[in-house]
Symmetry: D2
């Protein structure tokens, strides 16, 4: 940690802070310059958080040297984590495609949509039983009944299923039905939920919040790992920017950056990341090209009558075209669909 | 609702959508132009949500005519709502100041800080017992013990207290101790929590999310009112932008805009809105000048040793200066501190 | 154009605006609803700009039906424009790679860097003689002397060159040396410069501004085409968002969106789009995968001593690896490097 | 400057960089830690820019200790700069109001609008003769003829005038007519224009760009001061964010922050900062409350027929109400309208 003092800081401030640093077992450093005094603390600086040095009225700024996360860091754990998803796995050399409708609507809609997806090559199913909706007047999901239909569909097609959990008290129920639990973008910093899901024993798909920096996402994942769950997948799904032509701005820069910083797999959701059906295929290909471990994509047997997110859902034919287009790109970067 | 069809839309699409509109009891309108066909639906367009017209492959764009919220709208409820807060009230001609530390740390810290705040003129107390923290390694609050200290402090000083609830299963407990429940920025779209708090019978302080448009904030409030709770206060606390000199960008434009659109009171939090102690007083004055109904401000008996948010907390002397500076500005806009 | 009146608008307002619309030769439409009166104007709504209807105190909002640009629109000009660049061309089925250092530093630096780039397969050279720098104390470019070295390098290696022009009075000079003129991100809305460059007779590379929506970029290009220049290439180079881990957020969503809206070719600049050397290759591949017509990439014979942008410049070996990795991805999407 | 090396950096890298630092006359510091080696450079670190240390492949990150600007810094020049504007002055204890239409349209429009503004208490006139417009089909201003009308209006009413210059070759002409030159938001980083205006001998009003951090604005001002012009006023006019309810997000946080960092006066433009007439008065009051030195506000004799920006222009009656509302707020913060 580097600590820059304010120009007007008296000499005793420097000494006082150096003593505090030493008291925490770190090596203090004193670097008096002409215009500012700079202090340093060498060692595991995470223990300095308790000192709240940024609160000190004579401290101008702090620069941490180490990342604030540990368990998710590639420095601590250099090898790629592979996360099980039913009988399949995500991470490593494979590229996984998880497809399905925004929401579980009916038994038929699920079976028709997901069997088409399976036929085209999807590896797993996504669909929501609990739907976070901006308006209280929009369809909020079928709840437990939706979970039942989802599980039934997965079993019938022999495909693993992932679905969102929005509420701590639902974690156990959702975990009983799903192969993987999703924490949605709006709940990325719902820390109570993170702790509960971290303890549930199932793999987790953690979506990046709309205003979350990559570092915030990694710290949210750190909550999950701190509860003992290492089966965590990250997911980029677009951030909120000034651009209004698309629903979100898909931040693909984040993919190679995340792969460098953490050992966890990372997926891309080009459906929410764009909000526009015609952009889903090109952005799925881009995700594969820049190093994502797979995609999460919305498909519906008939998007024109979908109860939610129809504008960004692929038709089954579109999904087939996506899978055909993906294959050569995935191979071009030395991986394979699986 | 105005519906613009794609250039390539065949004539039967227009007829099909007009029939759908009529089937929902709205008046359909057909406006064929040279380059595009435009359709209209006159009436309570919120029922059109079910049609999911944005999913239709031949629809280019939609323009709603009415706001998506109803109960929070000033159109439905022209008079200002006044929200009770213990023996005091927020909204109307008064300007309220709610002050206190970021977190309940100790009995002494609470009593020293809040009695100083009361002496300087604060009307209520804020302090957290459950703290949403970006890092799992940061202080997470004392929980129920913190609630007890908070209540005790409020009773001793005869001041109402507001505190954050982060979790549906804690709503009843927090409601037992606090005069008002706060929903934090990170939980603004935690819809399970909104529903639970909407039912709890206590007034609510709803903070704007870091990536939330004003319309999203109003829709989140609509969740609370839809559960039967009209005692809702909104709070602007800064949004996330590209500017890194401050912790957040305080969006004061939102204050007069919100006052125009809704009957609910709105507070400003200049502490989180800036993240920098020296900016708190000027931004509190600006909040008063542009029409806020009060402020929520962090004070600590000694910010240099605060367990969280010390960098943005006022010293008791700073808070005194704030109250002295506020008084003439509040009067200049025809209101009074109370 | 759809015009929504305020709730309190008197009936005569509607009539007055309908008359104005008719006076401009458009077909007026009257749609009185229960809560709002909605008006329509059918025809070439761009002439309505003169009416400044958004200024009317009784107008609540406007919705244009048509895009505000014409000449750049694919609706007017369905076939892809191919832009000449020296003896090569950009657009169509090819994928072009333009490489070079941020700035022209010395004759040797240029020759060493660009001959390495050519050997690895680059199709053209980029390098700046006039450098827009945030700080007045940073290197501002060699000016005309830099243009001379650039031209000389291009001629020696038989490669076309593109370079930035920052100033109307320099347009003629730069056009005398370069095969294509670049308008930088900071000047995207320098309308005087756009007009001057639009008249200069040379192809233009127009970079997206850091706060520019795609629509703003297309309108800036419209300035160029309105001066009679159709040889225009767009370039995505990252926008400014709250994410601070990278220099910019590369908005690849924009690529397929732009290809849909306009006939002009579009390049991606992964160097400025990330600001981090290690992210350049994956993002270049992503650009190819999502439909870009080529990339603009910074290479330097020795980035560790580059006078500017070294942190995002590839080493010659890195550029070789990029070209090797690009080839299969470009082929996977049915195109070829050329 | 603090330099953090990558974990894998070999010992000789540290030595090599320490030697470079010493070669520039700064004092080098070596701080080897367990996980990273940290280096320091004490002294005037601006000379280190030439070393381009961020380009070094073994450098993980840099932390400057000093601000990158000098001449605009309050550290170098603690007293407030007062800028002359015709016979009046901006800065110090006064609060200035500069009012007028977006564009010079006609002699009558100017005289009617500005005499109403003067009667209500405005201190100076703003109006554009050269208009930067997003669309090439929008009104671009009357040019020199507009300057003539502007000067004539100023002389007739004995009020100083400020107007935008968009082009280096127009600087001399505009300087011949105006008392102050404005550099617009879109040209804030048009460095050629900054240099030309810095040399012209007239006071300058520099508006913040839509994607500019405060530090970028201060560096743009540094360009002006570096050319010998200290008569510079900054202007906050809103930044671009995800919020779409208003045209821009007025960043009032920037006002007290800027006043702390620089000695230059700062104005607020609530017209562009909101884009909505009804928000102009409250935001003008907020600007006064948080420490701005004045406002720049759009007024039009009849906004409903304004050729540009009518939606955000005040009616003369609105401007009167603004001046009446401003007076007590300005006094409440210890200043006076003048």
């Amino acid at each position: 940690m580097i600590i820059v003092l304010k120009r007007e800081a008296p000499p005793e401030t420097a000494q006082q802070i150096l003593d505090l640093i030493a008291s925490k077992g770190l090596k203090p450093l004193h670097m008096p310059g002409v215009e500012r005094v700079v202090l340093g603390a060498l060692g595991d600086e995470r223990v300095l958080a308790e000192l709240a040095l940024d609160s000190h009225p004579m401290v101008e700024s702090l620069k941490p040297i180490l990342a604030p996360y540990k368990l998710v860091s590639r420095e601590m754990h250099p090898h790629d984590t592979v996360v099980r998803f039913g009988k399949t796995a995500i991470g490593g050399r494979g590229f996984s495609v998880i497809a399905g409708p925004c929401a579980v609507e009916t038994r038929d809609q699920m079976l028709n949509t997901c069997s088409a997806a399976k036929k085209a090559g999807a590896h797993g199913i996504r669909a929501g039983a609990y739907k976070p909706r901006t308006s209280p007047y929009a369809f909020q999901g079928h709840g437990v009944e939706g979970l039942e239909i989802l599980r039934e569909t997965g079993d019938k097609l022999d495909m693993p299923v992932v679905t969102e959990v929005m509420e701590t008290s639902d974690v156990e129920t959702v975990a009983a039905y799903a192969d993987m639990l999703q924490i949605g973008a709006r709940n990325m910093q719902n820390f109570s939920l993170l702790k509960a899901v971290g303890k549930c024993g199932k793999p987790v798909l953690l979506k990046r919040g709309m205003a979350a920096r990559v570092e915030d996402l990694l710290l949210a994942a750190e909550y999950l790992l701190a509860e003992g769950n290492e089966q965590v997948i990250l997911c980029e799904r677009g951030i909120r920017t000034f651009e209004t032509a698309m629903r979100n701005t898909l931040d693909l820069n984040a993919i190679p950056y995340i792969k460098q910083k953490t050992h966890l797999p990372v997926l891309v959701d080009p459906s929410h990341g764009t909000g526009i059906r015609d952009l889903v295929i090109p952005m799925a290909l881009a995700a594969a090209a820049c190093g994502a471990d797979g995609i999460l994509v919305e498909v519906h047997e008939n998007p024109a009558v979908a109860w939610s997110d129809g504008a960004q859902s692929l038709y089954p034919e579109g999904f087939e075209r996506l899978m055909e287009a993906l294959d050569p790109v995935v191979k071009a970067v030395g991986r394979e669909l699986r």
